[in-house]
Symmetry: C2
Subunit: 358 residues, 2 copies
Amino acid sequence: MGPTIRDVARLAGVSKSTVSRVLNGDPNVAEETRNAVIAAIKEIRYTPNALARGLNTRKTGTIGLIISDITNPFHAEVARGVEDLASDFDSNVILCNTDGRPKKEAAYIDLLVEKRVDGIIFTSVKTDESDMTNLRSRRIPFVFAGRTLPDVEADSVVVDNILGGFQATNHLLRLGHQRIAYLAGPSHVSASMDRYEGYCQALRRAGIEPDPQLVIEGDFKQEGGYRAMSALLDRSLGITAVFAANDYMAMGALEAIYERGLRVPEDIAVVGFDDIPFARLHLVQLTTVAQPKYDIGAIAARMLFERIDGKAQDEPSRRVVLPPRLVIRRTCGEYLGQRDFAEPNRPSRAAEPPVGTT
Amino acid sequence: MGPTIRDVARLAGVSKSTVSRVLNGDPNVAEETRNAVIAAIKEIRYTPNALARGLNTRKTGTIGLIISDITNPFHAEVARGVEDLASDFDSNVILCNTDGRPKKEAAYIDLLVEKRVDGIIFTSVKTDESDMTNLRSRRIPFVFAGRTLPDVEADSVVVDNILGGFQATNHLLRLGHQRIAYLAGPSHVSASMDRYEGYCQALRRAGIEPDPQLVIEGDFKQEGGYRAMSALLDRSLGITAVFAANDYMAMGALEAIYERGLRVPEDIAVVGFDDIPFARLHLVQLTTVAQPKYDIGAIAARMLFERIDGKAQDEPSRRVVLPPRLVIRRTCGEYLGQRDFAEPNRPSRAAEPPVGTT
DNA sequence: AATGCGTTCGGGACCGGTCCCAGGAAGGAT
DNA sequence: ATCCTTCCTGGGACCGGTCCCGAACGCATT
């Protein structure tokens, strides 16, 4: 179909080896021949075939991104970080929406292996170690971004969810709240459990024993937050504040609160987690714990490329823990006192300094 | 590295041709040999190499998606539609964020050509025909989703922006508004101009001559909407309603309005365009013109695959125009009267019926 | 003059598949 | 018995590159 390297060679009066050399910037090519080749390339509008090249270099310049749903602003931001960094490394990213379905995820992994991607970034992880054996045996590197699988040995970059939960809860405590509810995510998601852990630590540090009645499970969605908050409100437990496991649930909670004619933050204070764009809205102004979403993606991609380029070939897996950041807006009332973001008690972990981004 | 088709052949005691046959579901293979081959494939965990296959079938099972920014919820939704449909066609999509930069876009096009993608979907289009010649000469099909280039002959799927602008403005008129401002997008974007056209038609139909003073250009972003609305308010032009070219600008407008202590919709009514997720929020409840975002992506992908599969090989380019839908929420006040969504006057276009989706 | 080294280049095997072509076996028709 | 089909299978060219190997040449060294 299109012109091949042979056509260029013929036109330039050289062998295809030589064309290949100038294509790959080999210095051992006479200036004159190089120019002839370049001229020929331009003349017939030659574009190298990445398939053929990838076939024997075993590098495709493509990575896979497995994500639950790109429509989710949190994931979109992570994806953006991944894509930007891939672009810096002259790579492309193949987008895979799994909706959290293990079957779809497994199918995508197979496809990506067929395409011989250089590596994979997992954002949504419902699969277990067994699905990774294929990647392992083919030495296709992969890293987890945002979430981790406890029993899978692999690079990962996550936010410090325990610390985040601690910050959110501590903020509420400082404002004088005592009865603080926790709107949890699904219990099998480590992020939600870690945030809960931070919540408990903050409470205990303030001399308050966590009350199981004040914890209710949701699904990380607005609807779930709405239902959970409504249920909590119905029981009249004397709640004055609520910490939602993510912003979507906080949104649902707000809705439930307003629906009952209660005011935020006067009657009930609300703090979320993630800092998705809507939280910033003038009309919402949600106080929340921000995750460095873009950086999560960018750092994950950077780690992946370090594996791909062989720099970190056989090093043990690394775990980058990024700090969350409490963003104080309106839903908790103004807090102007001294900030206290002391680290919660927990086993010290050797967190490498975050890899720089961009 | 990994096992190849030859390894399978050796183990199964057949030739690689035969293995290839069972791989591709050729019926002319004896049941017995087929089983032997399948067993061998399983035993050595063989995964076909899509690069090698693509090299001579000239099909990669990959399409490119060129988008300005996946972080934008409108684009994310379109992307989701594209990806879902690609998945149905056993294809992958390569995500390309261009931020609207022509250079980045051109670079991505080159990359996608090198990777020999089966086709490309353009969402953001800043480039002109010249950039498409490469695609044309290589017969790589492409379709535009959401936006079009007037002078480029290609398949496209867009929403009827004129009608949408008409609906939004007409809604405001029916509610009794006379001084209606238009917060435009960048003037080189056809979508914004078309919405303006619909705005003018609705006004004229109501016997009102559009007042240039009431039109102000923004950038499709919240910040731009805020500034534009502020400027408008400062001039005290007697505005009672505003139609923003998209929801982001409407958000900015709301902010400007609230900041001045004005009420929505009592003092000023607001209607947007797009219906991005935030518009639905209880706290916002933006009346807006909804675009079938997902369908735009899905239909575009379907059209692309029709070209790829050769079904629509050499047919003239098609243009699918999808209807917008006015979603009445709170920012204009309740409108309970009879709906009148008459088509505005404009050159009749032979709009094919939308291709069905999923 | 013989040797050695560096630069420049061409030849051709190879990456891992697809697919065309030919050939053998089996079975039916003549 | 011969011929023709049909079904199944193997051989090998080919897709479009990369990269190893070795040849040719110029020039300095001994």
